[in-house]
């Protein structure tokens, strides 16, 4: 593959798509698929054939269109109509309406804030391209960044670009990506740089309950992740990459496998990529249902075939990682942003977002909110804009109570902070974390003690068992929370719970244990009166707990 050949593929693909009058995109991401969107696609294909419309109307399956609550979704291009809750029986009507007015009963309101308040970078191709065809990715400018990097930039220049963009890790902690890359570049071990084996790993072990950003990206635009990884590998001097993906995501795994095969065949992965001396191979590794494997040292232990136990850092994987070699680990969304940063320049990216949190962030909006689904927004947007403007507010006339971010390592933000900006620092100040992007909205029917207990049950069950504060401390905290929700606790128990939070946070070995008290601490900070009501009045204000 050369740059010219790449451009030719893209142009051919674009020309072919412009020849047809109508393009129908049926969402085949997991949300819509579970509502039989594949049957909708099949029905549309059948009807198009029967009507002999093959030359003027193309239909294809695409990745996530975002508004999962309205699925199955069908987007009609180029006129921009989107149909919701489509069933296979409605294929005929949709085709009838192609040259007429859109079907009023199925069409989503045009210009919904859900769509036009978003800024799409990592999701730009989601719902636009067929994720199982590399040509479509290339037609959208895919692999051009890799070609550019290999032909025009030195590895140091690539790291420089990423550093200047201000990109921070999207897995949760927000570590500066450029800094991480340069640490791997510098890691030489005992040998000279040329002979050091290095690895690049994509962490797709999306374990936070209520988070499905990574899954959606892998299902909707897998090549983007591969391209991001290849650029990273070139920058840090790695020739082998691994994608560690949850076994619970069969569709993502299937599409990744297809993408890797296509990319190898096209010569954008493999040996001598774009006629340069750069080689890069990618292998998939399936997780097996252990939340702790999202922690990078546990993830490495799992790729090596062992129990997913974290080990003490330092040494960090950047110096001593997979098989003891320098290893770069980034999250799916981080890699997904890299090709765009290279294509558009680091300044373009740094202009989006806030001073310390650059670019966009994808959130999985779920829970007590009208528009559940996947959204990508610029950093610095307020929680209110996400939940009320984009999310459409709370359904059934209920009142907003709190929004949970960061999953079991995060916390709940109450309504007085709805106008706070979403960035790494602000969320940390509020007692939660950016996390990987799960955003669960809760209304007045949620009991915050019960929510804290739910997350503690999660941490307890997911504790690997290696260190005692997490292994036993989470059980102790869970038992105390259960006691509170059953109306059997005293204020002394509450004091004991707080003491355990401090102990587990400060003495656990890895991030899972250290962050396990967060949901308790944040609900205690903002909803202490609910704890006290359970203990002193033997009442659950939300009516959830049976006392």
């Amino acid at each position: 593959m050369t740059r010219e050949e790449l451009d030719a593929i893209g142009e051919k693909e674009l020309a072919a798509s412009q020849q047809v009058k109508h393009r129908l995109n049926v969402c085949l991401a997991a949300g819509c698929m579970s509502l039989q969107s594949d049957a909708v696609l099949a029905s549309l294909q059948k009807n198009i054939k029967e009507r002999g419309l093959e030359h003027e109307c193309h239909v294809k399956g695409v990745g996530c269109l975002g508004l999962c609550k309205a699925g199955p979704l069908v987007a009609v291009e180029p006129n921009g109509v989107m149909y919701q809750h489509v069933t296979a029986n409605e294929a005929n009507e949709i085709l009838e309406a192609l040259d007429a007015e859109p079907l009023a009963q199925l069409a989503l309101e045009p210009a919904l804030p859900f769509f036009n308040r978003q800024t799409k970078i990592s999701l730009e191709n989601s719902g636009v391209i067929d994720p199982e065809r590399i040509e479509e990715y290339i037609a959208q400018g895919g692999y051009a960044a890799l070609a550019q990097v290999l032909n025009e930039l030195t590895p140091a220049q690539v790291v420089e670009q990423v550093t200047r963009s201000g990109l921070r890790g999207r897995g949760g902690a927000g570590y500066p990506t450029g800094l991480k890359w340069s640490t791997v570049v510098k890691a030489q071990g005992a040998q000279t740089r040329e002979s050091v084996q290095k690895y690049v790993i994509c962490n797709a072990d999306e374990g936070d309950p209520g988070a499905f950003m990574d899954r959606s990206m892998l299902e909707s635009d897998p090549h983007r992740i591969l391209e991001g990884m290849a650029i990273a590998a070139y920058a840090v001097g790695a020739n082998q990459g691994y994608i560690y993906v949850r076994a619970e995501y069969p569709l993502a795994i299937k599409r990744l496998k297809i993408a890797i095969r296509q990319a190898e065949r096209a010569g954008v992965l493999g040996s001598a990529i774009f006629a340069s001396p750069f080689n890069f191979h990618v292998e998939l590794r399936m997780g097996a249902g252990a939340f702790v494997c999202g922690e990078e040292t546990a993830l490495i232990a799992s790729i090596e075939g062992g129990r997913g136990l974290p080990r003490i850092r330092p040494p960090y994987p950047a110096e001593y990682g997979l098989w003891g070699k320098p290893t770069l680990i980034n999250n799916v969304e981080t890699y997904a942003l890299v090709p765009s940063i290279i294509r558009n320049g680091s300044e373009w990216f740094a202009n989006i977002g806030t001073e310390k949190s650059k670019g966009t962030k994808v959130f999985a909006l779920a829970g007590a909110v009208q528009n559940t689904g996947l959204v990508e927004v610029p950093m610095g947007i307020t929680l209110r804009e996400i939940i009320f403007d984009i999310g459409g507010g709370i359904p059934d006339g209920k009142k907003f109570k709190a929004v949970q971010t960061g999953g079991p390592s995060g916390g709940c933000v109450p309504k007085q902070f709805l106008d706070k900006a979403v960035d790494y620092e602000t969320l940390t100040q509020l007692g939660t974390i950016m996390g990987s992007g799960g955003m669960i909205v809760m209304d007045e029917t949620s009991c915050m003690v019960d929510v804290a207990r739910y997350f503690m049950e999660f941490c307890m069950t997911e504790s690997c068992g290696k260190c005692v504060p997490c292994r036993v401390g989470t059980v102790q905290m869970y038992n105390l929370l259960t006691k509170i929700t059953q109306g059997e606790a005293t204020l002394d128990d509450l004091a004991l719970l707080e003491e355990l939070c401090d102990l587990v946070r400060n003495t656990s070995l890895c991030g899972l244990g250290q962050a396990a008290p967060n949901p308790v601490l944040s609900t205690l900070r903002y909803f202490r009166e609910e704890y006290v009501a359970h203990i002193q009045d033997k009442k659950c204000p939300a009516g959830v707990c049976k006392l």
Binding site: G465, C467, V468, R471, L503, T507, S508, L509
Partner: protein, 239 residues
């Protein structure tokens, strides 16, 4: 440069100390007669940093660091015995005691138990967390030794000595979280293990009475661990 040749100076508990750059804080502390409590650490075995008792404060580092794996650095200032550390250590120790059913009065290792000694050292006179009272079994199927899960603290010394020194890897940990248990082979009774050489190393390194020699009654158990550094050195020579 060979790190052994590099000499580093650091402060431990306000004492100026010089050390080699490849040493851990724990190594240096032991050399200088400064006691840092440990349970999972054992000279001659790899470090896992799991018991968290050796956590120390390092100036300029917000998080507590385990002395057993943290390397010394030039100018490092380490505090090994602050009030906060002592409190955490006592609480951690209490968690160990609540996790299983540690009843010293009926234990073969009574008087010869590192967990018991630790309670004395740290001044743990009572446990203020609720006991979990798990229902865990005793395995007496082996001719010479026994395993009492009630007394196991999951330090994994047995797992490490068997894999790293004996080379049999008979032991490992199954399950995860609070359900973690040491076990042999495919989880059949220890006496039926095909890989066990009955060498007794695991019994000798066990800090409590979880692994014991049969035929001993309360408080009669004694151990020998001096073989470890020697064997480790000899194994390295052979390579």
């Amino acid at each position: 440069m060979n790190p052994q040749a590099q000499v580093t100076t650091l402060k431990i508990d306000d004492r100026e100390i010089s050390a080699h750059a490849d040493q851990t804080i724990l190594d240096v502390a032991i050399e200088n007669g400064i006691e840092i409590p440990t349970l999972c650490h054992l000279e001659g075995l790899s470090e896992v940093g799991a018991c968290r008792l050796c956590l120390v404060e390092i100036q300029g580092t917000p998080k507590l660091q385990p002395a057993c794996v943290t390397r010394v650095r030039e100018g490092m200032e380490v505090v090994t015995h602050s009030e906060r550390l002592q409190k955490y250590r006592r609480f951690i120790l209490e968690l160990f005691f609540t996790e299983r059913n540690h009843i010293c009065s009926v234990c073969v290792a009574n008087g010869n138990c590192e967990l018991q000694d630790m309670a004395t050292t740290l001044g743990m006179d009572h446990v203020h967390y609720p006991y979990l009272y798990p229902n865990v079994p005793v395995d007496a199927s082996h001719d010479l030794f026994g395993l009492d899960q009630n007394r196991c603290i999951l330090c994994t010394r047995c797992v490490r000595v068997c894999a790293e020194i004996e080379g049999a890897h008979t032991w490992d940990v199954r399950g995860h979280g609070i359900d973690s248990r040491v076990f042999t082979d495919f989880n059949e009774p220890w006496g039926e293990s095909v890989t066990c050489t009955s060498c007794g190393k695991c019994v000798n390194v066990c800090p409590t009475g979880a692994l014991f020699k049969k035929g001993k009654s309360v408080g009669e158990m004694s151990r020998k661990i001096d073989f470890l550094p020697y064997l480790k050195k000899m194994r390295e020579e052979m390579k």
